[in-house]
């Protein structure tokens, strides 16, 4: 409670400081950040902490499941006496609203902000404001540009693409006709995954890409797209599908047309994993684990507790193949029918990831 401007018990009068004085105070505060362990942390905040979860859009199933892991982690940390409150906002897809929410979190003097960014640039200034106030900011999944955050947490999209392409090349013995199914055009994740696959495809010149499509990460549009591709292409040896429920849509299209299933890559969508087992597919899948949300909350609290955390936490992509798919399907009923079966996680895993 040494820095009065920053404490929750700040009096109303001191909030009425003139702008110049406030600016000076902020300068003074940021000057003191050098001594703290992790980025943004000043060491003046004491447990139990208030955590703000600034979501860009809460409606998709992946987001709901991610929020579930955050809420579960907060419950754990509450039991340990480290967290007292979780504030959740949903910007309804509007980056401008997300700025307003994060500003409100700063105003409410939360101790930590966990955020999926709605725009890689738009949040930079408000997030560095939060950092200047000594708030632990942890950014995951969709990242911001600024480095004034406590930590950024993500998997590597380009490794995703490379891993999928490599598996498919091995399956086909480096030879055959394949279709590439991408996520939406102009989205950085779908772009990065595709780029990651390219070097592998270049190294296997006998793998011929017959055609490529972009669809939403949903079953119906993917099934529709694949159905029309099946009509024009009598010979297909493999499908390189790069995420979401696209693979499930593709498998269903093959099924409806009475075509023989071919090796296919995909994501941990429950529907795809169930089809994989049911149709006896040759499959491979990875995932953007929903527990990145839980890990982010954990990381923020660790940083607030004075532990050093890496500025960038690279989470290795968990891989699902024939040897591990049963362990995933065994837990299927704990996940929504249109949801994602993510790999198991625990505190030991988080500690290991943060020790990188």
């Amino acid at each position: 409670m040494k820095t009065l401007e920053n404490s929750p018990t700040v009096s109303r009068r001191s909030r009425l400081l003139a702008g110049a004085a406030a600016a000076a105070a902020i300068l003074a505060l940021s000057a003191g950040s050098a001594s703290a362990a992790a980025n943004c942390i000043k060491g003046d905040r004491k447990a139990p902490y208030t955590v703000g979860w600034a979501n860009i859009y809460s409606v998709p199933t992946w987001m709901k499941q991610t929020e579930g892991t955050i809420a579960a982690e907060v419950e754990e940390l509450k039991k340990a006496g480290l967290v007292k409150d979780l504030m959740i906002t949903d910007a309804q897809g509007n980056a401008q609203t997300q700025i307003q929410h994060i500003q409100s979190m700063i105003d409410a003097n939360v101790d930590a902000i966990v955020v999926i960014a709605g725009s890689s640039n738009a949040l930079d200034r408000v997030i560095s404001d939060a950092c200047d106030k000594g708030i632990a900011v942890v950014n995951f999944d969709s990242l911001v540009n600024t480095d004034k955050v406590t930590a950024k947490i993500n998997t590597d999209s380009s490794e995703w693409g490379a891993g999928a392409a490599k598996w498919l090349a091995d399956q086909l013995g480096g030879k055959g006709k394949i279709i590439v199914m991408n996520g939406p055009a102009g989205i950085s994740v779908s772009d990065d995954r595709r780029k990651g696959a390219q070097p592998v495809l270049d190294a296997n010149p006998d793998l011929e890409i017959i055609t490529e499509t972009n669809t939403e990460y949903n079953v119906a549009p993917a099934q529709e797209a694949m159905t029309s591709l099946l009509f024009v292409n009598p010979e297909i040896d493999g499908v390189l599908s790069l995420g979401g429920a696209i693979s499930a849509g593709s498998v269903m299209a093959f099924d409806r047309q009475g075509r023989e299933q071919v090796p296919i890559t995909g994501e941990n969508a429950r529907q795809f994993l169930e089809l994989w087992k049911e149709k006896g597919l040759k499959g491979w899948a990875t995932m953007q684990p929903n527990w990145l949300g839980a890990l982010s909350v954990y990381t923020a609290v660790q940083a607030l507790e004075g532990k050093d955390v890496p500025a960038f936490v690279k989470v290795p992509l968990p891989v699902i193949d024939d040897s591990t798919i049963d362990t995933y399907l065994a837990r299927a009923d704990q996940f929504p029918a249109d949801g994602y079966i993510y790999s198991d996680y625990d505190k030991a895993l988080f500690d290991k990831l943060l020790a990188q």
Partner: protein, 321 residues
């Protein structure tokens, strides 16, 4: 405000009459502001006030841009793309040879020119504004994406700090723009906007250059939307080719909430501004009340319906008395 001394009494009476329909909205907005100040006293500090008004400012500008056209009997679906384009032009030109003044000029000219072209098409070809602006929105979005395919660009730090730092510059700018609007309304062209919206044929026969008024209205609307984009770029420190998208719908919502009618000539700018203030303050109040996101969707709808219904109920109650 700019009361006309010779007819001060009449002016006052007219303004009272126009305010009456807005009494309910004023009440709702005031209640929300008080509630916000109770929940977060920091809003009363210079810094808190500045940050709050900065988040409201772009919405206030685009609401003016929308209300301006609705008063004239038009509507625009190109607001969001124009905001994006304004942000993109600002972020791509300010690092160049002409610097910040050049960037501001480029944004203003682009807004004025695009608005004027759309206005000319609507006025002279007699095409429905909703179709022309819908088509325009696709073109403008495309141009913004060509200029800046991914979020980026450059805005000087000092500009960001001046416009969106810990001082209420944005609020003062809004006051200045509102005063300018007030002054504009005192010119024949300004009155023409209302007149041509309310009764185009009558206005034409009274000597209002209806087509020119329409083009001016679209040009000014384009200018306001592009300047909102410039501000967004300064606030975020960069350009984003799709950041404006949600503004289209929000500008219409705020204007209608403020009592501006779809048929032209009905409504006031002050009402529209109040509508935008309600949309903005609502987000913060719901945050501080700790509403979960799902409840926020519901509450948002209820507040909007309530804000429109309360003035209507007051009117009926008054009529019965």
């Amino acid at each position: 405000m700019s009361a006309i001394p010779s007819s001060g009494w009449l002016y006052g009476a007219i303004q009272r009459g126009r305010n009456r329909g807005l009494g309910g909205l004023y009440l709702v907005v005031a209640a929300f502001l008080v509630l916000y100040a109770v929940l977060f006293p920091g809003i009363l500090s210079v810094s808190g006030f500045s940050k709050f008004t900065q988040n409201w400012f772009p919405l206030a500008l685009v609401t003016m841009a929308q209300a301006l056209l609705m008063l004239n009997g038009g509507i625009t679906l190109a607001i969001g793309p124009l905001v994006s384009l304004g942000a993109v032009i600002a972020a791509t030109t300010m690092g160049g040879a002409l610097g910040v003044p050049g960037g501001i000029l480029a944004v203003a000219l682009a807004g004025l020119a695009i608005g004027a072209v759309i206005g000319a098409i609507v006025a002279h070809l007699r095409l429905p504004a909703i179709i022309v602006t819908l088509a325009g929105s696709f073109i403008i979005t495309g141009v913004a994406l060509i200029l800046l395919p991914r979020p980026g660009g450059f805005i000087p730090d000092w500009l960001s700090t001046t416009l969106a730092g810990h001082t209420p510059v944005a609020f003062l700018l809004l006051v200045a723009i509102l005063l300018a609007w007030k002054a504009f309304l005192a010119t024949p062209l300004g009155i023409g906007i209302y007149a041509a919206g309310d009764n185009p044929i009558g206005a034409f026969r009274s000597g209002v250059p209806v087509e020119r008024v329409k083009i001016v209205a679209f040009a000014l609307s384009g200018l306001l939307a592009a300047l909102a984009g410039l501000f967004v770029a300064a606030q975020t420190g960069s350009g984003d080719p799709v950041i404006g998208t949600p503004f289209t719908l929000n500008s219409i919502a705020a204007a209608v909430l403020g009592g501006v009618g779809f048929l032209g000539g009905k409504g006031t700018m002050r009402g529209a501004i109040c509508g935008s203030l309600l949309l903005s303050v609502m987000i913060n109040v719901m945050f501080f009340l700790g509403f979960p996101p799902v409840a926020q969707y519901v509450a948002q709808g209820l507040i909007i319906v309530g804000a429109v219904a309360v003035p209507e109920l007051l009117k009926q109650w008054r009529a019965r008395r």
